[in-house]
Subunit: 235 residues, 2 copies
Amino acid sequence: MALAVKALFFDVFGTLVDWRTSIAREAQALLAPHGLTLDWPAFADAWRGEYQGAMEEVRSGRIAFCKLDVLHRRNLDITLQRFGVTGLGEDDKRNLNLAWHRLDAWPDVPGGLKRLKRRFLLAPVSNGNISLMVDLARRNDLPWDAILGAEIAGDYKPKPKVYLASAAAFDLAPDACMMVAAHSNDLAAAAAVGLRTAHVARPTEHGPGRGEAAPNVPVDFAAKSLEELAEKLGI
Amino acid sequence: MALAVKALFFDVFGTLVDWRTSIAREAQALLAPHGLTLDWPAFADAWRGEYQGAMEEVRSGRIAFCKLDVLHRRNLDITLQRFGVTGLGEDDKRNLNLAWHRLDAWPDVPGGLKRLKRRFLLAPVSNGNISLMVDLARRNDLPWDAILGAEIAGDYKPKPKVYLASAAAFDLAPDACMMVAAHSNDLAAAAAVGLRTAHVARPTEHGPGRGEAAPNVPVDFAAKSLEELAEKLGI
């Protein structure tokens, strides 16, 4: 089966990058100089906690598609208010919002992708916008063939359109593409429209013991790292 | 000025790849075994000659946007008929159409792009579709940050939308982007919507002495190769 797969599509937040540690670090770096002493991981969790609700506004058609950067900014304003942070200047808020462009990859990712690239076309199929994906790629040496996902589809995962538009961009049938993610709901949605699926465990995504250590849906492959996935795919 | 530019956008057919030699070679490789002895460069010229007219159908709104692969196939059928080639099977025609995915870069291109990537974000802003750009990148080692251009804009150059959608994908103002092309009309259209411009001479694009040895419109930079452009940009 693996031989019929031509392209690997990657979820990014959580699957390839450790958003929680990175956002906590960036928030502290930007807000501590203002005399703020927040629970930084809790701040990261709260900001991320607004993510699905904001995208649902787009998925439901209540608002037009906009880049994730725009939704992140709306969610930042909500989160700052919740943590009682006031009086932050526009430049600081804009800079803090771009913290999502400065996330660090899990350690196995750059080497794993390089190895997987020997056999497969590689693209992020993320809800993050193109410029965000490009900044993460530059920062973490992610060797993409193209940036696919939400922005080229004009909608957000897990809507079928995002997976299907990404396969179509590569001129591939859905079953010639494999979605790789640390989230069972993403994989279930990809499988529902015909993609192959691989789960990568990120058991600390939301903090120690708070992440998917294994898939809770049927998948074609399950691995603990991209290196292990490469091995299972015979590379 | 160069310091304000963050991204370089590249025209591809003619500017980065030698389509004429490559198409002539591919056509010969596929058609000679059928006993055909055509003037192969003339066949390449004729196929390419249908290019602007086909895109104008889209630009004018007479037909909906479709990938360049689809227009190339329409143009191939016209060209085969003109050269009196009949009886070719569907597989052969499909394979011949994909000759555009197997073009070779001019010799200065892989090294030049690698050098330019040290300072700038790099993307093709071509009329070629994403899958075609990805295949050319794999074949010629073109280190793109993202694949922008016609397919993400849903229209064809020189329509303003293609340049502006590409700048927007990188969150950049038009004047933070520089269009690099061997064609003055491409550069004039980019400049008209605010992009910076660089001309790269490809004097043999359409055969010996048949290519732009210099721009015929005002440009910010003019060079004989990407290596020379890198030098002029101080890299």
